[in-house]
Structure formats: C-alpha cells, structure tokens
C-alpha cells in the first residue's frame, strides 16, 4: 500500500507545483510527467513511426500502392513482398504504408472538424448560458441520440462516398463529445477571477474566449482528441466495411480489410495485416491518450 500513498502524495505535490508555474510551464511539466510513463512513450513512438511512414511513404514503400500484377496475386509473405500481395498482386506492405497517410488524415481532419465545431458550440453555450445554452445543448442531445455510425452512414449516403465526405461524416458524428467537454470546462472557468478581471479591463467576448478560456480548457480537449483520432479511424474503417468508404484504389485500411474479407479463408493475410495495422494504430493512440490524461490530471496518475 505504501506505493499508492507515495504516488498520491507526489500527485498532491504536483498539483501544488502546478499552480504558480509560468506560462509555458505547465506543458513542460506535462512532458516531464509523460516521459516517466513508459506506456505513453510506447504510444508516442508508435504514432511517431506512423507519422514518419505517412510522410515518407513514397520513399520507403518498396512498391506503389496501385502497382497491379495479376499473375502474382495472392502471394503469402515472402522476401520480395514482406506482407504478401493482395487479389490484384499489389504489395500489401506498401499499401499499408501509403494507407497510414489516409488513416492519419481521416483521423486528424475528422477530429479537427469535430473539435472545432463542437468546441465552438460548447464554448458559446457555456460562456453565454441561458437560452442559447439550452438551444445548443438540446441540439447536441439530438445529435447524441443518433448513434454515431448511423449518423455517419446517413451523411455519406447523402453526400456520396469519398475521402472528403467520410471525414465530414465521421467528424459530425463526434461533435457532441467535444461540445459537452468544452462547455463543462468553460462553465467551471467562466466565473473565475481572471475572467472577471479580463472583462473588467474591457476585453470583448471573442478575446476572452480565445485568449483565456480555450487555452485553459485545452487539457480535456487534447485527451478527447487523441482518443477521438482512434475512433475516427475505426469509424472510417467501418464505413468502408459497409461499402460507403473511400474510393478505390486508395489504400484505406478499412477498405483493404473489407475487400480482403472475401479471401479470408484461403488467404487470410490479405485481411489480417490491415486489421493489425488498424489495431496497432488505435493501440498507440490509446496509450498516448491515457498517458496524456494522466499527465494532465495528476489526480489520476497511476
């Protein structure tokens, strides 16, 4: 039990340290805490590798993502094709590398859309309160009442498939989460002294929200966003699975998995590797998200 005690004492000490830190201080502190968290660092390394792969795909991928070779299809992993070839004889390893671009793009942009619009709505609702708050939050309730994947499916059905629409659909589905989180933290900040002070010196609402409130409610958003990227990648893969995803021959992992499932019994490697790629990515994002949460919220540090 001594272990737990020291941890919580340490945590309390950190909370105490946290407050008087200067402007850049808290982030350095977060980083220091992150570094101690092995799991979070593993997550960071995974995501780092992924980003690297995405940026340098055209250099490190041994083949193009659309180099068909019909006579050489269905190869199991071998020295020329590390992860084998698919039903068109395309190199699966290369496609997974190129696919990291798509998945990261879908993940980040969808989350960007969600965080930006959800955050704005939440901030407005929380800051102004009253009727506006009520209207916005009821809208969010409605959005929340429609399950995310169904919403995404309806949106893609309406807009048509394709990378851009998938990102929009997945993004809209994730709006309620951000709206709620931002609203909650804005509510807790709204009546604090430094906001009152800013109002007193005549700062306008926009400035107060962007300069004071948002920076101070970043922590929960960052955590939510890290996990949100994971959800977005999964959601996009799910959309591809029901045939409403990204256009071929784009090597989106979910689409690779979905088309590979027809061959899953004879050539399981075609569907297995994209599945593993998704899993590792989500795994890394979750590790990172957990680590960030612990680092940002010392009470929860475990």
């Amino acid at each position: 039990m001594s272990n737990v005690k020291t941890v919580s004492q340490e945590a309390q000490a950190q909370v105490a340290n946290n407050v008087p830190n200067k402007k850049r201080g808290p982030w350095r502190e977060v980083w220091r805490r992150m570094k101690q968290n092995k799991a979070a660092m593993v997550g960071l390394v995974i995501i780092g590798i992924l980003i690297f792969a995405a940026l340098t795909a055209n250099i490190i991928a041994p083949y193009g993502y659309d180099d068909q070779n019909l006579p050489g299809r269905f190869q199991t992993p071998n020295s020329k094709h590390l992860l084998g070839t698919d039903n068109f004889g395309r190199d699966i390893f290369s496609r997974i590398i190129y696919g990291s671009r798509i998945s990261l793009m879908v993940g980040f942009i969808a989350v960007g859309i969600a965080a930006l619009s959800g955050g704005t709505l939440g901030a407005i609702a929380g800051f102004y309160g009253g009727k506006l708050d009520n209207v916005i939050m009821r809208m969010i309730d409605i959005l929340l009442a429609i399950p995310g994947i169904l919403l995404a499916i309806s949106i893609v059905a309406a807009l048509g498939p394709g990378l851009r629409n998938v990102m929009i659909a997945v993004g809209i589905g994730a709006i309620p989460g951000y709206a709620r989180i931002v609203r909650a933290s804005v509510l807790s900040l709204r009546d604090q002294e430094f906001i009152e002070a800013a109002k007193a010196v005549g700062a306008n609402d926009f400035r107060i929200i962007t300069k004071h409130i948002i920076p101070n409610s970043m922590a929960p958003i960052i955590v939510q966003a890290t996990l949100g990227v994971a959800n977005a990648i999964l959601a996009a893969a799910g959309l591809s699975f029901i045939g409403l995803g990204i256009q071929p021959p784009t090597p989106e992992w979910g689409a690779m998995l979905s088309s590979g499932r027809n061959y899953i019994r004879d050539y399981p490697h075609i569907a297995t590797f994209p599945g593993i790629a998704i899993m590792i990515t989500i795994f890394g994002l979750n590790l990172l998200g957990d680590g960030l949460r612990d680092a940002l919220d010392p009470r929860l540090k475990s």
């Binding site: 009442a145 399950p147 059905a157 994971a230 999964l234 009470r299 475990s302």
Partner: protein, 309 residues
C-alpha cells in the same frame, strides 16, 4: 423523484422532433429515388412516376414533412415500409427482440469480464495481472469489431466447430456475436472500473476505514466498490445504449435480423418510413437507457438523489 422522471420524459419530445426533422431532411435531400430503387434498373419510367405518385414522393418537402408529423401525432401512425408495405411499427418490433437480446448479452459479457478484472487490477495495481489485463483491455478497444467477428467465426465455427456461424435462433447462436460486441465494451468497462477504484481507494474515508482496522475485503467491497461503481454505471448505460443502435456491423456479419441492419438496408433502399422509424426508435431507446442510468445512480448513491428535484 417522479417529477424528475416526468421532466426527463417530457424532454424526450423535442429530441424526438429534432431527430425526426434531421433524418427527414437528410433523407429527402439524399440522391436516389426510392421508386426507382424499388423498381430496379429495368422498369419503364412511366411506372416509376406512378409509384412516386402513389408514395406521395412528388409533394414538396414541407408537405411531406407536415404529413408525416401529422400522421404520427394525430393518428399515431408512422407509415408503412415502401418495400414490404408492412407497418413500420411491425417491421421494427419484429427486429427489436434480436437487437435487445444482442445488446443485453453484449452488456452481460462486458460487465462479467470488465468489472471483476477492473477491480482486481485496481487492488493489485502494477501487478502482472494488472499489466496483462490493461494490455488486453487496450487490445480489446483497438480491435475493429467487424474484424474480430470474422476472426472469431473463423476460429470457433469453422476450425473448431463449437458454435454456429450465423443466425440468432438459439443460445448457441448468441455466443459469438455477444462476445464480438461485448469485448470492446468489456475493455472500456475494465479501464473505467480500474481508474474509478484507484481514485476511490485514495479517498480519506477509505483511509479512515483502513485505519480503523477493517478487513481489506470489507473495505473494498463495502466502501470502495459502491462509490467506484457510479461512473462505471454511466459507462455501462452508454455502452448499452450504443449496443442498441450501433451493432450494425456485428449484425451484418452474423446475419442477425436486428434493428441496426434493418436501418442500414433501408437507407440503401431509400425506404424512408423505416429509416425514420428506426432512428427514432433507437434514439428513444438510447434516451430511456440514459434516464434509467440516472435513476440507478440514486439507488447506488443516495447523495445524488437530492439533486433530482
């Protein structure tokens, strides 16, 4: 308390209206003509026009929406399926048992796996068990459901032959789908239970209880668990609500005739009345589950009860 419940139920009305409006609008502006889809690629244009007329699809948007709302409110009639001509309510009720069963089984798997694992992990923090459990939980969250379902079907029905591959007629059929949708929820619940327990364990009253010399199991079971369960119940409620509507992929893979699949197929067929009805139904079930969870809080933690006025 009952006032609170009534207020919450009244709040459902604007949510239902809003959901109806959004889905109606979205479906209306989605390209794809229901009549054309129903009649197929070979039907002459004259028949398509006639069918559109019969279905009232040529009326302007507001007329259609008004008619829908009016029928729903005045006659409690939310229409018939374009495709099967069966009343929407019948179609959904025919599918609901499977969905409910699947969600309940999934939630059962999730709770049965998640809560004990979470508690052990928390009490034995940083132990081998904890580490393995946490890695497994993370893998559980990271695995795409549809992939997991396929892999399980491959192993358990094809290679081992333990369970049937599809359908939903007997308990034997329930196992694989329930495990498929249950494991990711289990992973979430494990993590939630663990962190919630950890937080509670450090609270003063637990220290006090320990200081009083109470047996550790009593401390955990009597004091810690009860308080730690509140956030866990929220998650379970959310997950259950999610399973009610979000099991589309699992339903597809295992050929389960549930509401989720009905809804997807209807979107593809542009069977608007069904889509409307199904979304509304899912939204209402989701809200009611949430309300139920909130009420449950009051029983777990009497302090919360006072807030429900």
């Amino acid at each position: 308390m009952h006032k609170y419940i009534i207020r919450r139920l009244l709040l459902l009305i604007p949510v239902m209206l809003g959901v109806t409006f959004i889905i109606f609008t979205m479906m209306y502006f989605t390209p794809g003509d229901p009549a054309r889809i129903m009649l197929g690629e070979s039907a002459p244009e004259s028949e398509v026009i006639k069918l559109r007329e019969d279905l009232g699809l040529n009326d302007p948007y507001l007329v259609q929406f008004g008619r829908y709302i009016k029928n729903a409110v005045v006659h409690q009639d939310i229409g018939r399926s374009y495709t099967t001509r069966r009343p929407v309510v019948d179609e959904i009720m025919a599918r609901f048992p499977a969905t409910l069963k699947l969600a309940a089984m999934g939630a059962f798997v999730a709770v049965a796996l998640g809560i004990p694992t979470g508690i052990i992990s928390a009490t034995k923090q940083y132990s081998l068990f904890d580490n393995i459990a946490m890695v497994l939980a993370l893998i559980g969250v990271s695995m795409p459901n549809f992939w997991q379902g396929l892999m399980m079907m491959l192993v358990f029905s094809v290679y081992l032959g333990w369970f049937p591959a599809s359908g939903f007629t007997s308990p034997k059929h329930w196992v694989l789908p329930a495990l498929t949708i249950g494991t990711s929820s289990a992973a979430i619940i494990t993590r939630m239970t663990r962190s919630s327990m950890l937080e509670v364990i450090r609270q003063d009253y637990i220290r006090t209880a320990r200081a009083k010399g109470q047996v550790e199991s009593v401390v955990i079971n009597q004091h810690a668990l009860k308080n730690a369960l509140i956030p866990v119940i929220t998650v379970i409620g959310l997950q259950f609500g999610f399973l009610l509507g979000g099991a589309v992929l699992t339903e597809t893979i295992f050929a389960i005739p549930g509401v989720g699949r009905l809804m997807i197929e209807s979107i593809f067929r542009r069977d608007f009345p069904i889509v409307q009805g199904a979304v509304l139904f899912i939204a209402v079930s989701f809200s009611i589950v949430n309300l139920f969870v909130d009420i449950l809080y009051a029983f777990v933690d009497p302090r919360i009860k006072s807030q429900y006025k």
